[in-house]
């Protein structure tokens, strides 16, 4: 039955995460935007204590047969609503929260039960830890099939060689905690997609170095690292999936399926930022006695009201697409198309809504005294990482047209 009422459980989680956002994130939001590359340790330790064992960064893919056995869950849905709240607080700080992150999502999606236990158990105890995902390279971003990093078998180890960039929480995962980095590498460059595998590289593994931490437009509280792998030796069973190179690219597709779970979450984070901007504009207008009027002829509305309503509708449209994509995984449905739709829409909406919000509030919007300008800077990444706007458009187009990646490239 079509229903838009949040369950009690989701409402409760939303309340809790909102409290964190409001009380723990907002007060330090500006500070850690300005003090790029410094870590808000009080906040990180606190978040580790309250949320360890959950995965605020990674999604959980549910296979249809699991859903059939366990019945519908609300895991991904609840994650999306919680992430929206946290990112309403601060998306950069949210990204820096210690957890298994995207690396954990990859392990959860493609790992064996033994691998899940071995790599993910650590995120429930001990000191704060981070997981990270390393896909992008200096010469390839969206085209992850062009990965140059190699994995060569050497006895009972894999030898990894290559350079990874734009690795979110890469510094924390590779060097500053007992976490891990999931590194994508090719077993055989001539095999194309079919030869690409993900490898779990534990923090501190010799041969893995962080060589740079990026300076960015936004999300400055989150570290974005360059990771170099030089004859980095990882145990044989740290490979996610089969070491055989099949004739088809199923393995690669399996890895890409991780995105079906994570894209709605990234989209939810974008919604959080967009809502922060909307709320700020609404509150500011209210302080000046301006309330948006609904139901009145557009001819009688001010330009400000019309703009605001347009923004509001866009954000709600994007949010519902996110909810649907998450709901689908929770119910064991394949959501490749819908995940990309949610990400494409939310990435664009948050970018446009925050830019418009800055415009609407003029000098208030532009000033670093308010957080609005920060949100605009933070927003832009939503339209880039975890599949750019264009890549998601490509995926949507292939799905609706029934085209392979060869037919539409």
């Amino acid at each position: 039955m079509i229903d838009f009422e949040l369950s009690e459980n989701v409402k409760m989680m939303r309340q809790m995460t909102h409290a964190v956002a409001e009380q723990a994130m907002r007060p330090i939001s500006r500070e850690y935007d300005e003090r790029e590359h410094e870590k808000p340790w009080d906040f990180l330790n606190m978040m580790w204590e309250v949320s360890r064992g959950t995965s605020f960064g990674g999604g959980s893919e549910r296979k249809a047969k699991d859903a059939a056995r366990e019945g519908p869950s609300e895991k991904n849905f609840a994650m999306c609503t919680s992430v929206e709240e946290l990112c309403w607080g601060d998306v950069g700080l949210y990204l820096s929260i210690p957890n298994s992150g995207l690396g954990g999502a990859a392990v959860a999606a493609a790992g064996t039960p033994a691998q899940k236990e071995r790599f993910l158990a650590r995120f429930s105890s001990g000191k704060p830890k981070w997981g990270a995902m390393a896909i992008t390279e200096p010469s390839c971003g969206s085209d992850s099939s062009a990965i140059q990093t190699t994995a060569v078998r050497d006895g009972d180890h894999w030898l990894l060689n290559g350079t990874k960039i734009f690795c979110t929480s890469g510094l924390m995962a590779a060097e500053k905690s007992e976490g891990f980095v999931v590194v994508w590498a090719t077993l055989d460059r001539s095999a194309g997609r079919a030869g690409i595998r993900a490898f779990v590289v534990d923090a501190g593994t010799p041969g893995m170095y962080v060589t740079k931490v990026e300076k960015k437009l936004g999300i400055r509280a989150s570290d974005t690292a360059t990771i170099v792998l030089e004859d980095c030796r990882v145990p044989l069973d740290n490979i996610l999936g089969s070491p055989e190179i099949p004739k088809t690219s199923e393995g690669f597709k399996g890895a890409m399926a991780t995105f079906d779970a994570t894209r709605p979450i990234v989209a939810a984070s974008a919604i959080g930022v967009a809502r922060a901007a909307l709320d700020f504009v609404r509150d500011t207008l209210k302080e000046h006695g301006i309330e948006v009027r609904y139901g009145v002829s557009p001819h009688k509305l001010t330009a400000l009201e019309r703009d605001f309503m347009e923004m509001e509708a866009q954000v709600q449209a994007a949010r519902l697409l996110v909810w649907r994509a998450a709901w689908m995984i929770d119910n064991g449905m394949r959501n490749n198309l819908e995940a990309s739709m949610s990400k494409a829409k939310a990435g664009l909406v948050v970018t446009q809504v925050t830019q418009k919000a800055v415009e609407l509030l003029g000098p208030l919007g532009y000033s670093r005294q308010c957080l609005l300008e920060k949100w605009m800077r933070d927003a832009k990444i939503s339209d880039i990482y975890e599949g750019t706007q264009q890549i998601n458009q490509l995926i949507i187009a292939r799905r609706i047209l029934g085209y392979s990646s060869k037919a539409l490239s």
């Binding site: 039955m1 079509i2 229903d3 838009f4 009422e5 949040l6 369950s7 989701v10 609300e74 849905f77 609904y294 139901g295 009145v296 002829s297 557009p298 001819h299 009688k300 309503m309 347009e310 509001e312 509708a313 866009q314 709600q316 449209a317 994007a318 519902l320 697409l321 909810w323 649907r324 709901w327 689908m328 119910n331 819908e338 739709m341 494409a344 829409k345 264009q390 458009q393 490509l394 949507i396 187009a397 609706i400 047209l401 085209y403 037919a407 539409l408």
Partner: protein, 363 residues
């Protein structure tokens, strides 16, 4: 718990409507548009689907299914996918029956609803829109004044579907205590139905200007009596507009997809070019977005919650998106899209109306 799955019963209704739209409405849509008339066989076949009778209580001759804005939203999308003008014609009686079901007094319901439960299509309609550029659904200019226990209604309406054949018109006016609606019978003194209007789109739908020149009506003709808050009706109309916009958009989108996969340029199907493929991808995303907004607003209506904000956002979003999507569909077909041999130009003309169609349909 949030859920995006219609009930089995709703799925069944949706499938029935989809089949009707595909097999009956769409094949006749072009000719109906060209000839500016609704084929009779369509009307009777649709009547037999029970679109109007279903929500009328059994005691009054209907099927007694509860009225559901969500089901209505699903139904409207499917029918509009077949053809908008035909849909508005077929559903016009609901402009009278649903308000009666929601707000009608016992007398009003008993008097009027049985007329819509017979074997033949019976016409009912509503007069809401007014012929002014700044028409405002939140404060209509038509006035209803109290005179010696009666009401005297004065104003001008337009875009009134099937006004000439209607058993009764539901005329919206601003009364001293807010928005009111009056059941007006044809032939009432001062009710002037003009010449059939000629519109850019939905050409098969007969619409009329209606003048109310001091129409004197007994208090008993006011829908729900004094003090009825009709905002839910206005919102139900907004949601209907959004749902119809989804249907028309989907029609244009699917046609665009089929054409783009067929049409070749530079050695490949044009759908294989990102410039076209991305337009189609955006259209698909926007259609889902507008549908979900419509569902959410309908869901609020169904629960009897305040829904003005959601209904307005859904309707504004959907009417803008539908225009963009149908325009893009014409663009995908290029020169062919401009030729009336293809239906996309009709969908563009039809979709342009959504910003004006307040009160032309209801969920």
């Amino acid at each position: 718990m949030v859920n995006f799955k219609p009930t089995d019963e709703q799925e069944l209704i949706r499938e029935t409507m989809a089949a009707f739209a595909r097999d009956v409405l769409r094949p006749q849509a072009h000719e109906a548009d060209e000839r500016c008339e609704v084929p009779e066989n369509v009307v009777q076949r649709a009547w037999e689907l029970g679109l109007v009778q279903s929500a009328i209580p059994e005691a009054l001759g209907g099927y007694g299914d509860p009225r559901s804005p969500i089901t209505g939203t699903l139904l409207l999308e499917e029918l509009a996918y077949g053809d908008l003008a035909l849909t508005l014609h077929l559903l016009a009686p609901r402009l009278l029956t649903i308000p009666l079901l929601l707000f009608g007094t016992e007398d009003q319901r008993k008097r009027w609803l049985p007329r819509f439960t017979g074997d033949r299509y019976a016409v009912g309609t509503a007069a809401f829109v007014e012929p002014r550029w700044d028409f405002d659904a939140s404060s209509v200019s038509t006035r209803a004044e109290r005179v010696e226990g009666d009401y005297v209604v004065t104003g001008r309406k337009c875009l009134v579907p099937l006004a000439r054949q209607a058993e009764a018109l539901l005329v919206y006016a601003t009364a001293p205590d807010g928005l009111a609606a009056f059941i007006v019978e044809p032939g009432t003194s001062g009710l002037v139905i003009g010449e059939r209007e000629k519109n850019m789109g939905t050409r098969a739908l007969e619409t009329y200007p209606v003048g109310l020149e001091g129409v004197r009506l007994p208090a008993g003709s006011r829908l729900g009596g004094e003090g009825a808050d009709l905002e839910p009706l206005v919102n139900a109309s907004r949601v209907a507009t959004a749902a119809l916009a989804v249907g028309v958009s989907r029609a244009a989108f699917e046609y665009g997809v089929a054409y783009a996969k067929e049409r070749r340029a530079f050695g490949v199907a044009i759908a294989q070019k990102q410039a076209i493929a991305f337009m189609l991808a955006t259209m698909a995303t926007e259609i889902d977005a507008m549908r979900l907004l419509a569902w959410e607003a309908a869901w609020r209506l169904e629960r009897g919650q305040p829904a003005t904000r959601e209904s307005c956002l859904a309707r504004d979003y959907a009417s803008k998106a539908a225009l963009k999507i149908t325009d893009d569909a014409v663009q995908v077909l290029g020169g062919h899209g401009y030729i009336r041999d293809h239906p996309v130009e009709q969908w563009l003309r039809d979709a342009r109306g959504f910003t004006t169609f307040d009160g032309l349909a209801i969920v």
